[in-house]
Amino acid sequence: MKYTYILASEPDSGPAMGSEGWDDYAAAYVKWNEDAAKAGILCAGEPVHPPSTATTLRRVDGEIKLHDGPFAEIKECIIGWYLVECDDLNVAIDWAKKLPLVAHGFGAIEVRPVVDMKELTK
């Protein structure tokens, strides 16, 4: 069963790159990635640039309009995502708890089950 982790945090909540604490924080992510890969649950994952770099597409009156910015204006912004494969939600949550973002208290993680196209045809 696949799950996505959608990682979000408020701007400037964690240590900035190069600042004090950054090395430890980054190392914690590297360790999580290694552990998850070793356990065989990690499928993919990437950090993304801030919302100011986002472009949102939406069809309005039959025409696809581009909007400069993210689709939702919220206090927290999406900073990255993972795709993991776990037996069930308990396992997915246990792994998510260990991600530095929540483990260090710098943001939130939304765990969403991925639609299995094979299940749909059942």
Partner: protein
């Protein structure tokens, strides 16, 4: 067989076997909604056949066998609609279901299934309100209509909420399993919280006006007993069960004929149910002989102190203050602090209790709640500061909507006015 008797026996079977059957079928199907539908169908056919063939020796096993047959029918029907690779998978599913046939006869396996189902309904990824609704439908077998009546809620809204939760369970694959040892305590606490929510909903709302309303206090106690039987190692379950017995013992004494809430100090203790008190004491002993003492056990111990006292004045207040101290160590709740302060006012007198109350008030936890103000009014009256007491009672009464608590405060205020006149 007379149909009245049959209906009673079916209801009894439904109460005892609904959750167990859903649990057993769910393990086979891996699909909660499907399991519920199969068990529902099994009860429908029981209604049809038991009238002529008689009630089977083991009604639960009969229901589960019938439900399992429904499940197999359903999966076969699905198989005919599928392409060949899907058919292979279904074939494997069917074999799996047929293989576990024998296990339906083993009570131990079903016990674990039922316990796992309770933990599923109280899973922390589901909101507490929805945990309550799910537990009541899936474990105790209430219908959405029953729940709507019990909570004075809209039937359609309850149905929608339940559907949403069940969809989440399926889509996110929340497992039907007994939590691992390192999470068992935390997860059990959640189950206790759900049971206590159900109990309080039944206990705090008046029961007289609607006789068709399901008795939630009864459902909560039955659920707790099931939990004790399934997981006897958790002593806090016994503490919770004791607390519910000792609280429910006062049910006839707590409301006057006019529907006014009667506070503990004015209750007629002869109306307290002795059988409930005895049961409460028994389970409290079991709770204390287990491992760590939790919040429900301590609350039950406080209720037991009240039950032991012949009159309110003869209550062992110093024992109650100590119990509240232990409770506050576990959870520093303003309500516990306030109740401790009330006990303190009888142990050390209202003057030192007023000082303690000022500390709670300063902490801002209860700020200007009516509970705090009404308590202060009571202390002031006992110290003899009647004018201030009257002022506080008025302030507390102003905060409240019409209801039995307001009426009971108004009564105290009226008594005070007579004295001060």
């Amino acid at each position: 067989m007379r149909s009245e008797k049959l209906v009673r026996q079916l209801e009894e079977t439904h109460r005892r076997e609904w959750g167990r059957s859903v649990a057993a079928i769910c393990r086979a199907s891996g699909d909660l909604q499907l399991a519920e539908d199969c068990v529902q169908d099994a009860f429908a056919s029981a209604l049809k056949t038991w009238g002529t063939s008689g009630v089977p020796d083991n009604p639960g096993a009969w229901i589960r066998t019938a439900a399992r047959r429904r499940l197999i029918d359903f999966i076969r029907r699905r198989k005919t609609r599928l392409q060949s690779d899907g058919k292979l998978r279904i074939e494997a599913e069917l074999t799996a279901i047929e293989d576990i046939d024998e296990k339906y006869l083993s009570d131990k396996v079903i016990d674990d299934d039922e316990l796992a189902l309770i933990f599923l309904c109280c899973h922390p990824t589901i909101s507490p309100t929805d945990q309550v609704m799910l537990t009541l439908t899936i474990v105790t077998g209430l219908t959405p209509k029953d729940i709507a009546a019990a909570f004075f809620a809209d039937h359609e809204a309850i149905r929608t909420r339940l559907l949403r939760s069940k969809r989440k369970i399926k889509a996110a694959r929340i497992p039907v399993s007994i939590p691992a040892t390192d999470q068992l305590e935390e997860r059990s606490r959640q189950v206790h919280a759900v049971i206590y929510l159900i109990f309080n909903e039944g206990y705090l709302t008046s029961r007289q006006e609607n006789v068709t309303r399901p008795d939630l206090t009864y459902e909560a106690m039955r659920l707790c007993k099931t939990l004790i039987d399934l997981a006897p190692g958790n002593s806090e379950s016994c503490g919770l069960y004791a607390l519910m017995h000792l609280t429910d013992a006062r049910v006839l004494a707590r409301v006057s004929g006019a529907g006014v809430l009667i506070p503990l100090d004015q209750q007629d203790r002869d109306l307290w149910r002795k059988d409930q008190i005895v049961a409460g004491f028994n389970y409290l002993r079991r709770a204390f002989s287990g491992g760590a003492v939790g919040r429900y056990t301590l609350q039950a111990a406080i209720a037991a102190e009240h039950a032991k006292a012949a009159t309110y004045e003869q209550t062992n207040w110093s024992a109650i203050v100590t119990l509240y101290d232990r409770l506050i160590e576990i959870e520093d709740s303003p309500v516990y602090r306030l109740n401790r302060c009330i006990a303190l006012s009888y142990k050390d007198g209202p003057i030192s209790a007023l000082e303690d109350l000022a500390l709670i008030s300063d902490s801002g936890l209860l700020s200007d709640s009516y509970q705090l103000i009404a308590t202060r009014a009571d202390f002031l009256a006992r110290v003899g500061h009647l004018d201030e007491a009257v002022k506080d009672y008025r302030k507390a009464i102003d905060q409240l909507p019409n209801g039995s608590i307001k009426a009971s405060l108004a009564k105290k205020l009226a008594a005070l006015n007579i004295v001060s006149d």
